[in-house]
């Protein structure tokens, strides 16, 4: 055996685990997903094979269903509103804690992490309970300040309610990342600005915010991908009914026969999740492009 041959085998040995992993857990399921969206599967053909190839027919059916666009709109609202408030509140809290200088600031900061640490089944159920239209604490609270009760989880208000819960859930993540970003901004920049007569507001907009941009980008992109695929909190609170139906809950319900329909729609679920994947991929590429432009 020549030396170079042995080198080649060693290379194979080193690369193989990674490739096997990628193929088994990424390439294979992804191709299966796309293949499934191109064949019309039902429970029988899922088990025994022989699902007919229908090309892009199912994609066409889905995108021409007016309800689909309603769901896309709801997904967009859910994602954008959640992200905006998660980021804004997270940033405000991060700046607040970064200024610090008061007792118990670290204890308080730790307490803000609680939503992140609780299992979603616990927090989701608690939100559902608080939002109970007949006996929930939120309506009791509204009552004490003289406001009428809200039917939080009704089909019309469901989107607002799950967004509120999801914002609460996402603030700690934003807080932690932005806080660590703030710690990387040299303090002398702020001192210099203060000497030049910049007030706290100007310091924030001209120094803190621009210097946080790379960190903000990462936070928002991760938040976006995470929020797009949220199923758990929505499902626990409303089963994705009414306006709280998003692409992710639709795909989940279709894939496992959950929610209103016990029919498993293998192909339709694959179509929706492929669309979801493409959207996330687009934003991922956009992020890479923006980052590259920033670097150069």
């Amino acid at each position: 055996m020549t030396r170079s041959r042995r080198g080649a085998w060693a290379a194979v040995g080193f690369v193989a685990p990674l490739i096997v992993f990628l193929v088994l857990f990424y390439a294979y399921p992804l191709t299966q997903n796309v293949l499934m969206s191109l064949h019309r599967y039902d429970r029988n053909t899922f088990v025994y094979g022989g699902a007919p190839f229908v090309g892009l027919d199912i994609y066409r059916e889905i995108v021409t269903d007016p309800r689909f666009w309603k769901v896309v709109e709801q997904t967009a609202v859910f994602t954008v509103v959640s992200l905006f408030f998660q980021y804004a509140i997270g940033l405000a809290l991060a700046v607040f804690f970064h200024r610090g200088g008061f007792r118990l600031s670290s204890v308080l900061r730790a307490m803000f992490l609680i939503p992140w640490l609780l299992p979603v089944i616990v927090s989701g159920t608690t939100w559902q309970w608080m939002m109970n239209p007949d006996s929930g604490v939120l309506n009791a609270l509204l009552d004490t300040v003289g406001l009428g009760p809200v039917w939080w989880l009704s089909s019309g208000h469901a989107l607002m309610s799950v967004v509120i819960a999801n914002i609460w859930l996402g603030v700690p993540f934003n807080l932690v990342i932005l806080y660590s970003g703030l710690q990387n901004i040299p303090a002398d920049l702020h001192e210099a600005a203060a000497l030049d007569g910049a007030g706290p507001w100007q310091q924030f907009w001209r120094i803190t915010f621009p210097l946080l941009r790379p960190v903000s980008l990462v936070t928002l992109l991760l938040g976006l991908v995470y929020t797009l695929k949220v199923v758990d909190i929505i499902w626990i609170m409303t089963f994705g009914t009414g306006t709280s139906q998003t692409l992710a809950t639709t795909s989940y319900g279709m894939a496992f026969g959950k929610g209103s329909s016990a029919v498993i729609r293998y192909s339709e679920a694959s179509v929706v999740s492929t669309i979801l994947l493409l959207v996330a991929l687009t934003f991922g590429l956009l992020f890479v492009a923006v980052q590259r432009r920033q670097e150069s």
């Binding site: 429970r43 088990v47 309800r67």
Partner: protein, 422 residues
């Protein structure tokens, strides 16, 4: 330089091939052919018998768990596992695909036609399952094209529980409730007396539909036409309760247990719920009773049959042995003395009239439930495997109706628009 690159490429190509061939192993080879052979009479029971049921609430060591395991034939042990209804059906689908299906599955009755049309189940004949002596209306969901695929061991039904204390204080005689008008009048009287009206489960999915069907059928509506005036009328009844504040708004998200818990607070006069709560009702902090659910214009509304089927999934390898396992265990659970224990353990009424008679004789709590069970209508009897689709649409219509909270026009459009796959 080139050689290094070439070598590198070759290495990656090799690794890729390895990965792909590994992935290819994932696709199943041993998928059994639909309707393949196998006969319980020619097989013999094996050392381990696998048993799946949808009762995760009956944990290891519970009465039901021990009852099932006691049914293991000589020389065998039963391995029991549980999952909620839908998950169980999904797991069964995958298991048949992979050739790892259990010997016995306890499957919810409205899933039967779809399981049969997907060729997941062996016929009762193949699996040596006896269906003699079982009521026809209960057996219905498991019969497709005149072939039986398993046996229901018991059944449950829906009725209208009432809080006798509340009714008495409001001066309502439960016997006077014979149609929707008298039911509404009774609720109104209780509400005027300071009580609350009625709890039910309108949660999205089959559970809510199960509870909606007595009103739907009681109005004279038919599953083949969800937009009929009768269907809308049923929707308006429930919608009106929510609109008037007689029923909790949470009915739109309550499952049957949550609806039951609300009734147990003692604030509500009525609760539409199942026979499985009969003994819990007797132990409530207040006096309870139960009446049949009334139809719109009087008489008793047909309720959907509740309960599960014991079935044997299709096997490709050693089919006869698997079916022999199923035959032995299912016979033990549904025949002879154990049949009574099976139903009493689960809180069901037996699917066999004679066993049911014994249950009623031993426990007068069962008496009001015999009528509803005997008059119950199979959900899938009319539509077969298409039922699941119709049920999904009906669930959406019901959600729309409950959310309309008494807005008649909105209820009507909810029933007219039901049908999109989203």
């Amino acid at each position: 330089m080139t050689t290094t690159t070439q070598r590198r490429c070759r290495a990656i190509a090799l690794a890729l091939t390895a990965g792909v061939s590994l992935a290819a192993c994932g696709s199943s080879e041993a998928t059994p052919e639909p309707g393949a052979g196998g006969d319980a009479a020619q097989g013999s029971t094996t050392a381990t018998i696998t048993f799946w049921d949808p009762y995760p609430q009956h944990t290891d060591g519970s009465e039901w768990d021990e009852h099932v395991k006691a049914c293991a034939p000589e020389g065998s042990t039963i391995k029991r596992s549980s999952a909620p209804q839908t998950d169980l059906f999904n797991q069964l689908t995958t298991a048949v695909k992979e050739g790892t299906a259990p010997d016995i599955v306890v499957l919810d009755n409205p899933m039967m036609p779809e399981a049969v049309s997907a060729h997941l189940l062996a016929t009762a004949d193949q699996a040596g399952i006896s269906t003699t002596g079982v009521d026809e209306n209960l057996l219905g969901p498991g019969v497709v094209d005149a072939v039986a695929y398993g046996v229901p061991f018991g059944s449950n039904a829906l009725g209208l529980y009432y809080n006798a204390d509340l009714l008495e204080s409001a001066g309502v005689d439960p016997a006077s409730i014979t149609d929707w008008a008298s039911l509404n009048a009774a609720i109104e009287q209780v509400v005027a007396d300071g009580g609350k009206g009625i709890t039910f489960s309108g949660v999205t999915g089959e559970e809510g539909v199960f509870q909606f069907l007595p009103w739907f059928w009681g109005a004279g509506a038919d599953l083949s036409d969800l937009s009929s005036a009768e269907a809308v009328s049923a929707g308006r009844l429930l919608s009106g309760w929510i609109g008037k504040g007689w029923a909790p708004k949470s009915a739109a998200t309550d499952n049957q247990s949550a609806a039951w818990d609300l009734f147990l607070t003692g604030e509500y006069a009525f609760a539409e719920n199942g026979s499985w709560f009969a003994s819990a009702a007797a132990e409530a902090d207040f006096a309870t009773g139960v009446i049949p659910i009334p139809a719109e214009d009087g008489g008793v509304a047909p309720v959907p049959t509740g309960g599960e089927f014991a079935v044997a999934p299709v096997h490709a390898d050693d089919a006869s042995d698997h079916y022999a396992n199923a035959a032995a265990v299912i016979a033990c659970l549904t025949e002879g003395d154990a049949a009574l224990a099976t139903n009493e353990t689960l809180g069901y009424l037996s699917a066999k009239p004679d066993v049911r008679g014994e249950q009623v004789a031993a426990n007068p709590l069962w008496e009001p439930w015999v009528g509803p069970v005997e008059g119950a209508q199979g959900r899938t009897t009319e539509l077969g495997s298409e039922y699941v689709d119709v049920s999904a649409s009906l669930s959406k219509a019901e959600q729309g109706a409950l959310n309309a909270a008494g807005d008649d026009a909105a209820v009507e459009s909810a029933f007219k628009e039901a049908g999109s796959v989203f």
